[in-house]
């Protein structure tokens, strides 16, 4: 059977424009959430977000690093983040110089939950005010979700499968899971997989606020607003960015002496069949996805050491925790579980990929990132290690990452240290 390992990582997040900066900030308990700077928030119910910082910031993002000027002008920011994170992952994997035969067997699976909303918003105004003749010729392909994978394949010459998942906030996890299957199924030897999002624009923020999904009570305390599992949580904080991993067939990675972070061993998918935005109150869909991922991994629930929760800082946190308890046991069988959305906000379609990278780094460094702002844990959290406030050193061999999305779509991934 073909096995799939992770050999490269790339991140653009509110805590850094690369993997090591983001991770160091996350472990140090920094928050990337602040008052929105990108547009005038007058009249908005939510005025805070986890923005990717500008290049003048100590951990800001410089799009010129890896994305051509012309492309930057034509596409929405989520695609820019995806191209940069993909480049980082290829560099990390030592795959910047692939021969033609290798490129034919290297594909891309980078998705997004929403896609180019800022560009759609701007061009809609442009259309209404100035007419159809002023709409940009790059409007469509600069906003399309699969242009993440399209642009990445063009830039890096990857001619294998070109795929993009669109499953709202489960996108990043589904993208990695689907890509791993493509390698297992011999469609490719290498896949760049992940998710990207950038919808911190007036329409995006207003839309999620109207859906009653966002935190709107702590605009004056942005760093305290994302507080998963805390009694005083009341909505998620929007984040943005991208996470991309290089997945590679195990023997292929070994043969070229690649650095191997972890193996993708289990992938579970399910649907709630319940409501457009609310999760099933009993968390059955979440439970099914987790059980499937653990079964496919060929391990026991008690083997899981760390769970990176979906944990959005909404009422749904309680439902997820109850589902995790049913799968792992009331004390999670000694596993730690945290929500890194407390530090970076909810990256929507990027979340599952970014959080999978955090899981992989937890394995690498034997440390689990904290759940910030968890000062008054809600009922039902007793006896569970939710890693409040501070990162924690501990043994981490096997990890579970959960992602759940609007429409009732659930994905769980199990990754573990590679054993020959």
């Amino acid at each position: 059977m073909r096995r799939v390992v992770v050999t490269g990582l790339g991140l653009v997040t509110p805590l850094g424009a690369d993997v090591e900066t983001t991770w160091a900030n996350l472990i140090a308990g920094e928050s990337g959430i602040d008052t929105i700077t990108r547009f005038d928030t007058t009249g908005q119910k939510a005025t805070i977000a986890g923005e990717v910082k500008g290049k003048d910031h100590p951990w800001g993002f410089d799009p010129d690093r890896r994305v051509d000027h012309k492309v930057q002008r034509q596409v929405d920011p989520f695609i820019v983040y995806a191209i940069d994170a993909a480049g980082q992952a290829l560099e990390d994997a030592g795959l910047t110089e692939m021969d033609e035969a290798t490129k034919l067997r290297a594909g891309v699976s980078i998705g997004s939950g929403i896609g180019g909303l800022p560009g759609i918003e701007l061009e809609s105004v442009n259309l209404a005010e100035r007419g159809p003749g002023r709409v940009s010729p790059h409007f469509v392909h600069g906003r399309l979700i699969n242009l993440t994978s399209g642009q990445v394949s063009i830039k890096y010459g990857l001619m294998g499968p070109n795929h993009s998942v669109v499953t709202a906030c489960s996108t990043g996890a589904h993208s990695i899971g689907d890509a791993a299957r493509m390698i297992k199924d011999d469609d490719a030897d290498i896949m760049l997989a992940g998710g990207a999002e950038s919808t911190i624009n007036p329409l995006g923020v207003a839309g999620f606020a109207q859906a009653k999904a966002l935190n709107m009570s702590m605009n004056d305390r942005p760093k305290e607003a994302s507080r998963p599992y805390d009694r005083n949580r009341d909505g998620f904080v929007m984040g943005e960015g991208a996470g991309v991993v290089v997945l590679e067939e195990y023997e292929h990675a070994k043969a070229r002496g690649a650095k191997i972070y972890a193996e993708v061993v289990g992938y579970g998918l399910s649907g709630d069949a319940y409501h457009v935005t609310a999760p099933h109150p009993e968390g059955k869909g979440a439970e099914n996805a987790m059980r499937m991922a653990i079964r496919k991994a060929g391990i026991e629930p008690c083997d899981i050491d760390y769970v990176n929760a979906h944990g959005t800082s909404t009422m749904a946190d309680t439902i997820e925790l109850a589902a995790v308890k049913r799968v792992l046991g009331d004390d999670l069988c000694g596993a730690s579980m945290s929500s890194t959305k407390s530090a970076i906000g909810h990256l929507l379609g990027g979340a599952g990929a970014v959080e999978s990278i955090f899981c992989i780094l937890a394995i690498r460094d034997q440390v689990v990132p904290p759940t910030l702002n968890l000062t008054d844990p809600d009922d039902g959290t007793e006896g569970v290690d939710l890693v409040p406030l501070k990162a924690k050193k501990r043994e981490v061999d096997a990890v579970l990452n959960n992602s759940f999305g609007f429409g009732g779509t659930n994905a769980s991934l199990v990754m573990r240290r590679v054993v020959d």
Binding site: K70, R73, R134, S136, P137, H138
Partner: protein
């Protein structure tokens, strides 16, 4: 260089991300400056905006070089 040529050059540099030295009157948008057909649509829109001219599709199709653009605008800008 005329004022029009300087402004055309600025637009071309900005839109195509090319070095200023390459934007000579002889330079072909597609062959020398790496533009594709959609980039040319965008450039024509930018010229229309900058110079307050309307460049119909049949005229736009004949604009192949930077010099073609300069000439058209010189003849039609009011």
């Amino acid at each position: 260089m005329s004022d029009i040529a300087a402004r055309v050059k600025k637009i071309v540099v900005e839109h195509l991300g090319v070095e200023e030295e390459k934007v000579t009157p002889e330079a072909s948008f597609i062959d020398d400056l790496g533009a594709d057909s959609l980039d040319i649509v965008e450039l024509v829109m930018a010229f229309e905006e900058e110079f307050g001219v309307e460049i119909p599709d049949d005229a736009a199709e004949k604009i192949n070089t930077v010099g073609d653009a300069n000439t058209y605008i010189e003849q039609h800008a009011g």
